[in-house]
Amino acid sequence: MSPAEFRAGLSDAALVSAIRSGKEDAMAELYDRYSALVYSVSLRVLGDAGAAEDVLQEVFLQLWRNPDWFDSSRGNLAPWLAVISRNRSIDGLRKRRPETDVEDVVLSVEPDMAGDADRATAMTKVRTVLGGMPAAQRSALEMAYFEGLSHSEISEKTGEPLGTVKTRIRTGLLTLRKAFQT
């Protein structure tokens, strides 16, 4: 088994543990696994390849500097990276500094996103669910998540009542969740 094959067989938690020991090749393996996920989220939010690449660098470099940033006992790495990437990109979009250097993002999600195939399947399903949503709901959800707009800003933009916007955002998220519950 080559070193690359060996690394590819390691779990995310094992790779983070290796990073804690200063193993640069573990960092390379994690990048190979998740750089596309981090980059695509950031590109969607920022709409600029250079800025998205900067966020990609920042997120992985931060993980290298502080592997404890990610606590494997409190969630899986892939969804965590996706949310961290979105949050950092929104910070960049709104020209605001992160509230803290290290965000305490704990999450739980049903599908396993560790493997490329799992993520591809989940991606197809998510796109299907989004496509099936009422346009107003999908729009509110995407404005809140990818544009970082507050419910008040969405309400102003769409002319819909605040309560309606709030409900649409929450219902949209629950609809996604329900699609993955068996």
Partner: protein, 254 residues
């Protein structure tokens, strides 16, 4: 929804980072106590992660990987800062500051203790001197070879009286007077040792108190002088080298 329904919509906004003001404060306070709402918040973040998957497709440029790995290689572990680890970097400085404070504290304490010891030594020396003087006084008063002299006024009454106790070998003299009249301003009584041969020797200047009492204890005297008498004259306050007449009191050895 497994959390509290009244917080349901605000939880979604908090997960998205768009809840502000008093609603955010109230919800964060509630989350401290409510495990069900914490779990719901975690699930909402998971839902957000699912939403992220909808963006999948674009890949970063190949140079990005090299850029990251070059940055990783340039940055030795443990040098970078992070919110949770910054204090490790400051730790040596903090320890140094703490040690410096301890050194200053111990230094001051050491100085204080030295001063106290010096004070105690000084007290001990003073007490030894006092003890030696007391022993000499007792020894003089009780010496079998002490010459005891009673001096009285040349004209009576009243009857001023003085007692001189002198030990020649130790040059020790104790003089105790009573019923002594007050002396004029800027004047004092002076006690004289009248040797068996030679001029009178000054043996102390004194002023009686309000009751007419006075003492002279061990005035500086030459050693081994045999006394035939003691006398008192009135002299300037600083004393005189030789007695000024008249002699107001006088007494010879018994």
């Amino acid at each position: 929804m497994s959390g509290h329904e009244q917080f349901a919509e605000d939880l979604a906004l908090l997960a998205l980072g768009s809840l502000e003001g008093k609603e955010r404060v109230a919800l964060e306070s509630h989350l401290q106590e409510c495990a069900a709402c914490r779990r719901e918040l975690e699930s909402l973040r998971g839902d957000m992660a699912l939403l992220s998957l909808s963006t999948a497709g674009p890949k970063p440029p190949a140079r990005s990987r090299e850029r990251l790995l070059a940055a990783v290689a340039r940055e030795p572990r443990g040098v970078a800062t992070s919110g949770q680890r910054w204090w490790w970097i400051l730790a040596p400085s903090l320890v140094a500051v703490a040690l410096a404070l301890v050194v200053v504290f111990l230094g001051r304490q050491n100085l204080t203790l030295r001063e106290r010891i010096a004070g105690m030594e000084s007290d001990a020396v003073a007490r030894q001197v006092e003890l030696r003087q007391a022993r000499e006084i007792v020894s003089t008063l009780t010496a079998s070879d002490a010459m005891r002299v009673t001096l009285v006024a040349a004209k009576a009454p009243p009857q001023p009286q003085g007692k001189a106790i002198y030990v020649r070998d130790r040059s020790s003299l104790i003089f105790i007077a009573s019923d002594m009249p007050a002396v004029p301003a800027q004047k004092a009584y002076e006690l004289w040792l009248i040797p068996t041969s030679g001029a009178p020797i000054p043996a102390g200047v004194f002023k009686p108190d309000a009751h007419g009492s006075a003492t002279v204890v061990n005035p500086p005297l030459p050693t081994g002088i045999e006394a035939k008498a003691f006398a008192i004259t009135i002299e300037p306050e600083a004393g005189s080298a030789s007695p000024t007449m008249p002699i107001v009191m006088v007494g010879a050895g018994e």
